[in-house]
């Protein structure tokens, strides 16, 4: 276990050593990894997906994927919150000398909430449209690795968060299938009001 943690810290320190070498890149990344850019961009994409289907069949697929992604996003966040009550890992800047590109968060480092949320959304959307799901996954990866580069997460925190997000999204997908015809009824009622 010690070897894994040492390797984890080594990857973090290797990535973080580049902070300050490319100021323009750092400025862009500072926006990208902020608490507001990625969550808003991903959520706005979900909003767009709801309305973007070009025919009834495509729209139904997109809307089911959006519902799955929204539920997975909420549950992934809740799972991280519950895990954080029982497991605390100090942030990298507590134990190592890192250059920060971000403020100093006080909550647990493991598992990474941004990774859990972003990967939950990406895998939820994947079912509706694999191409958009792939874009979400790339976005989630850049957001997560950016946080490691910025010195606020270890790589293992990101992997843990991503695993939680993907697992929860898969379970939500299964649950929605088991709950049929409830999702279909919800979509039909919204459809009657011309909202789906």
């Amino acid at each position: 276990m010690d070897a894994v943690l040492r390797a984890d810290a080594a990857v973090l320190l290797w990535l973080n050593q580049w902070v300050g070498h490319f100021p323009a890149w750092d400025a862009v990344l500072e926006v990208f990894i902020s608490d507001y850019f990625a969550p808003s961009a991903l959520s706005l994409c979900l909003l767009g997906m709801w309305f973007a289907g070009r025919d009834a069949r495509e729209r139904d697929r997109y809307q089911r994927a959006t519902i799955r992604a929204m539920i997975a996003l909420g549950l992934a966040s809740l799972a991280v919150l519950i895990i954080n009550q029982h497991l605390f890992r100090a942030r990298p800047f507590i134990d190592h000398e890192v250059t920060l590109l971000f403020y100093r968060p006080t909550d647990s480092s493991f598992p990474a909430n941004p990774a859990a949320v972003a990967f939950a959304m990406a895998s939820g959307i994947w079912e509706g449209n694999a191409r958009v799901g792939l874009i979400f996954a790339i976005f989630a990866t850049v957001w997560s690795v950016g946080r490691v580069y910025a010195g606020v997460f270890y790589p293992l925190d990101i992997l843990g968060g991503a695993a939680i997000g993907i697992t929860i999204s898969y379970l939500v997908g299964r649950a929605l299938r088991l709950l049929e015809p409830l999702p279909t009824i919800v979509l039909r009622v919204a459809g009657m009001l011309h909202l789906a």
């Binding site: 608490d35 706005l44 994409c45 009834a56 100093r104 009001l193 011309h194 909202l195």
Partner: protein
């Protein structure tokens, strides 16, 4: 509401309007467009999204913890939901007024967003309600 909360809501509201225009343009939901020209509506939507994000991130420091003027995760989530809901309501209401003449003769009671390819939300909703009334 804090200054950050206000700005965050505004950014998501304007960007939400833009995203809805882009989606409506892509899906040919003419009853949801602010402009009659479909591709132009999509471009306008894209510019609204880019503009909203640029304004938000250029207008002040945004990398702040929730103890020093930033937003907590919960505030983040409910402000986004509120902004998204307002963007949907505003779009449906405003386009129903702007495109008032659209789909006057459209009598189909086809459910779903597809009706908005031919008429406004107001007319489609009214038609759905009439349908429910006559059925009951």
């Amino acid at each position: 509401m804090s200054a950050m909360g206000h700005d965050f809501f505004l950014m998501n509201f304007v960007a939400g309007l833009g995203v809805l225009q882009m989606a409506a343009s892509y899906a040919s939901l003419r009853g949801m467009l602010f402009l009659r020209h479909r591709p132009l509506s999509g471009i306008l939507g894209f510019l609204a999204v880019v503009g909203a994000f640029l304004w938000f991130f250029i207008s002040g420091p945004r990398n702040l913890p929730d103890t020093s003027g930033g937003l907590s995760g919960n505030e983040d989530a409910w402000l986004f939901c509120a902004a998204g809901a307002c963007a949907i309501l505003f779009t449906l209401a405003a386009t129903s007024i702007l495109n008032y003449r659209m789909g006057r003769e459209y009598a189909s009671r086809r459910p779903g967003l597809e009706a908005l390819q031919h008429t406004t939300f107001y007319r489609a909703f009214l038609s759905a309600m009439r349908g429910l009334w006559t059925r009951s």
